[in-house]
Symmetry: C2
Subunit: 151 residues, 2 copies
């Protein structure tokens, strides 16, 4: 059972206080490419979720930013950061264990962030304002005009 | 103008083919903590957006996973991965330059991923299925029972 690798990794690192109780495995062509877990506390990195760590590690090992033929197994339903990273990485197949509600019940904010994105920003969580659009827009025009890569 | 630091960094690295035309700056107590840009292509890392790079760098420099008193400036409206990372990092104040529509017009998928999250998964983008919930749920129970940190 592939999920067991993710569970064992998560259990090991959560007991060492590396981060939350979440593990992930990336598989390609029936081979295990990466086994990772949440290391937010150890690495002092709020982006070091199990899926992000697994994606970064798999990309390094496969020498690509495109994981289109990979399958991701993760012990908990991905938060919006991770689900977006999965889409950016072109992963198309994901298996998850626990639900967002399960994680919320022990205090994690995954569900809360989904609601933030779905319901729009009321300003209570985040003050986000537009600034210097014209100057920033030039960057996009230059990128397009120079035929740079879209990924 | 703080945004200019983000713009200049983005222009420099996009011209070197390091990644997309996006830059970010993190400020704390009127001091520049981090200036970063998208390095997806150079680092072969789909998570290496300007905001993620800036957050990771600022956390390293400030030796914390909690950026609660920091302000983020970013040349383009954050994608769902980055907006979630901003919330996980407890950043409360963000200034952005271009809109999601501006980025979509040169081919980036930020807007597409927002729609994916808002409209629910129809299976065309991602096949995501539940697996081994009971085993995974034990992790959450163990985490809670061991009074581990919620971040």
């Amino acid at each position: 059972m592939i999920m067991k690798l993710a569970i064992d990794k998560a259990r090991d690192t959560m007991m060492k206080d590396y981060g939350g109780p979440f593990g992930a495995v990336i598989v390609k062509d029936d081979k295990i490419i990466s086994v990772a877990s949440n290391t937010t506390l150890k690495d002092k990195d709020p982006t070091a979720h199990a899926e992000i760590n697994a994606i970064r590690d798999a990309c390094k090992k496969l020498n690509t930013y495109d994981l289109k033929d990979c399958i991701l197994y993760v012990t908990g339903y991905p938060c919006p950061m991770c689900i977006s990273a999965i889409i950016w990485a072109n992963i198309k197949e994901v298996y998850y264990g626990t639900t967002l509600k399960d994680a919320a019940e022990i205090g994690f904010r995954d569900d809360f962030i989904y609601n933030f994105i779905r319901n729009g920003n009321t300003g209570e969580v985040l003050n986000i304002s537009r600034l210097d659009r014209d100057e920033c827009l030039k960057l996009l025009e230059e990128y397009k005009n120079n035929n740079k890569t879209i990924y």
